[in-house]
Symmetry: D3
Subunit: 209 residues, 6 copies
């Protein structure tokens, strides 16, 4: 599926693999992992295929995997792995949060298919997850930053939440600055509101409402 957040477009797919990482052998549990990539022409300036920022891509890949595992019942999934691919077709800020929100939909599709095949009795999901980026621009809190906003943000926060209102991941970061507790509280409130809207959009995309 293709998820679009403003000008940011990410292709998210899920592949079921009948194998698991070695450390899960004979535990009866499954795994969810992810790989994140950007097409060379996705960015404002063309990114060279060779000089792609591997470290950043791996960091985001691990974040996507961790976020999804928080809502999957790995024991109910059984000894198989869901491989999520998130490939950014067009980037305008917030690619990691768009990837998580889109990956959830792809994951839901794949797990539903697995259920229909009779491989698992019920969809092995224990919650819904979505992510959003919030930040402070020229002193004002803003939702879902686009690239121009993102690169001039004083504070940048990525928030991954479950539909029960708990947090899966909070990454708040200031470049060349720092932020107060008050600012953080404001960003968390604004982010939660945005994520609630995403939950509704995900359910709609999945035909669940």
């Amino acid at each position: 599926m293709l998820i679009a957040f403003g000008e940011t477009k990410v292709l998210c797919t899920a592949t079921v693999e009948e194998r698991i990482p070695p450390f899960l052998k004979d535990t009866g549990k499954g795994w969810v992992t992810a790989e994140y990539g950007m097409l060379p022409r996705s960015s404002h300036d063309r990114i060279s295929r060779d000089s792609v920022k591997k470290g950043r891509a791996m960091e985001i890949s691990r974040l996507i995997g961790r976020s999804l595992r928080a809502v999957v019942d790995l024991a109910a999934l059984g000894e198989r792995q869901i491989m999520i691919d998130c490939d950014v077709i067009q980037a305008d800020g917030g690619t990691r949060t768009a990837s998580i929100s889109g990956a959830y939909v792809a994951l839901h599709d794949a797990l539903t298919h697995l259920t229909k095949l009779g491989k698992v009795p019920n969809i092995p999901l224990i919650g819904q997850c979505a992510a959003i980026s919030v930040g402070v621009i020229h002193g004002a809190p803003m939702l879902d930053l686009c690239y121009t906003e993102d690169s001039t943000a004083d504070v940048d926060m990525n928030l991954v939440m479950r539909d029960d209102g708990t947090y899966i991941e909070i990454q708040g970061s200031a470049e060349g600055a720092s932020f107060s507790r008050k600012t953080m509280d404001d960003l968390l409130a604004m982010g939660e509101k945005g994520i609630r809207e995403l939950f509704a959009l995900q359910r709609s995309a999945l035909g669940l409402t």
Copy 2:
């Protein structure tokens, strides 16, 4: 300098380089960057030199650089770069936060030296920074997790703060779970208390008290 947090030991050094990254050319500003590595025998099980987790190391390297830049006056530093090396000699949890806290001391030393050489009029620092890891173990908030605790933690949070009480970075993460707002508030309070103690230790190591 060698920083030790319980059984975790990190060698932190700072090198002054009279060159800057291309994007700072002719801006009059300097830069602080970092590289993080682990010796093969630093971990409980020996890490193969080949299979070192490159992505994780780059993620931590970038976190260290970002944290330090938040307390450096880059314009006052001038067109030069401080390269921080953090090499983990022995690992028992919290290596990234130990690296940041130790790197600050190495950075302070290097900038003091630069000042003594007359290359900058005053130490170009606008604050002090330190980092700590906190987490929830079997439901109870804990400070400065060792490896056994870290790997069984429900929630793991890394906190980087300035001495004026503001945040530079918050990374809260749940593996296979999620956490409530109440838990987060408790962790932030506990973390801040621990960081205040680190500030005192840093000042003492620098002979400033």
Copy 3:
């Protein structure tokens, strides 16, 4: 632009770069080069990002570049380079020929834009090019093979032609077999007919008819 040939979908983009390869320095001539890639999930079976067939990708990249250079007036282009990116979103046979046919449209767009900016007086094109794959399946010549057909083909031929009826590239290949002159003549005739249809489609996509 996204080109679709049956189930094969390729994203083709062109980027103008104000630099040229070293061997063209001070010749007044420009260059056209290409990079071809496949998304992991584009294929019937997921392709691992690591084990991507680098040799094959580079071979196709060079074919795309060579094909386009045959219709560009490099002297009129001036000392700049057009970088073509072809990324396969979905693959069902014929990805290299679809890439060439789509890349021509992206190239035309980029050169038109350059002309509008006044950087070149006229669109520096000396012809139109398109490509098609033909083959022999169970003894019968077939146009534009899909993946199932491709992998069982006795003979596989890729044809790149100009609109004046001349050939830019002919690659005829038999896997575990060989083919007669008669077969080759039949394939060339069929291929030319198909390419003529592509020329019309390209002109229509460019709004030239």
Copy 4:
């Protein structure tokens, strides 16, 4: 064996390996594969070992393997693999076609040896193959281009044929130009004549005439 075409010298060897690629497991069939390399000093200008054109080498390796497989009875070969190494000692154009023609002789030797060892009842060959390069230089068709001719050729064609007059591979390519059907027919006729002479030379090298 060392094959020399004018100033081009290629060392061709064949190694029998009692293992096959995974996709042939339990099919009873064997495989022929090839690796092509150039010594740094083989070329007019020394090639750096690091910057060797990997993509080109892999493209040629695959062409050599494909060409030889067209004349081998893979079922009669049984579950073993022939690995062909073609290393260019001195290059003066036509290294890929010289490699194929030489590799056939090395392959024939290896298969004869296998037959003498009693591992296969008869030499598992169903034909003879050789390759030649032809091209158009300043408007005139030419056989077996040397390097100076090759780099100034308007059209460059590599032809791989069987001794029954059928084609295994045709690669016709124009750099910055295109060619007519008439030119192609002339090149095919000239190439076939040259390949017939190579067949005689191969048989003589193998002591078969």
Copy 5:
């Protein structure tokens, strides 16, 4: 353990692994291997992590392994491997010889531990080994060169010896020069005297005297 030779400091550790290299499978014999590395800040000028001299590190790694294997009873060790890690924390000449002398102590410790665990009946050592570097500086033989001396040495010799007075390795090398038999004899005599002192220091570090 940390070994210090003047300003040179090397961290030497030994890890027992219950696996052996493939070529020793079912021979009943064990193996000793080593890996040598330098921290970026160990040298007078910071070494970039990327441009680390891999070839030199592998050459030294193999020398360390070879030296230690000469004093180990591999049959008595049984089918297990001792992996030695030598990481240079601070370098001031003679890092390879310091590594060997220190590695012997780490090896002795690991083998003693293995004996205490009852995995081998006796410490499987058949001798003691140590290494030293000697050289000619401005015409005069010198022991244990520091970096400034090393880089200006006319002749540089590394000597690895056993406690029975036999040689395990002699590497004598002249940069841009050559040396006479007389010089070599002088260097060997001086080196042996220095190594005898190292044997005493090793025994003392191991609490054996």
Copy 6:
């Protein structure tokens, strides 16, 4: 030129490059460097191109360069570099010493050519160098070991000498053993005798006698 020592065959070439390594910039001095490689089929068992022992190749490359620099007047050579390529076509022990002895001849040829071109007034050589391997097989000293002997040798010694009887390099090494001073003296005497014969062969190959 192709040098053959028994069954060992090495292709040695020298390339003059009008550039020097950065550390020699503006010193007026030149440099000699070398690269050593093995063809996959040179060894008794085919060596995979991927798993080539890079560390060993780099170690030998550096030995060849160092050996030749000891007989070149780098100041008289001027600011240019001689790049030596040694590629083993067939290996049967002693490839590194054969490479050095052959490389000297290639070097002499290149420097003679440079002199004829008038770029240097005289051949910038201050001596002749050659290398040999000697060893102890079943207790008996032997000259110029072939592969079978080499792999069962108790002691293996590589000797590089100048024609004035001085040593450029001595590498004596015992695998799983050690050797006495008496053995070393015997090996040095035997090696020197062999090298004197090589000096005569080199002069003859260069047409100097």
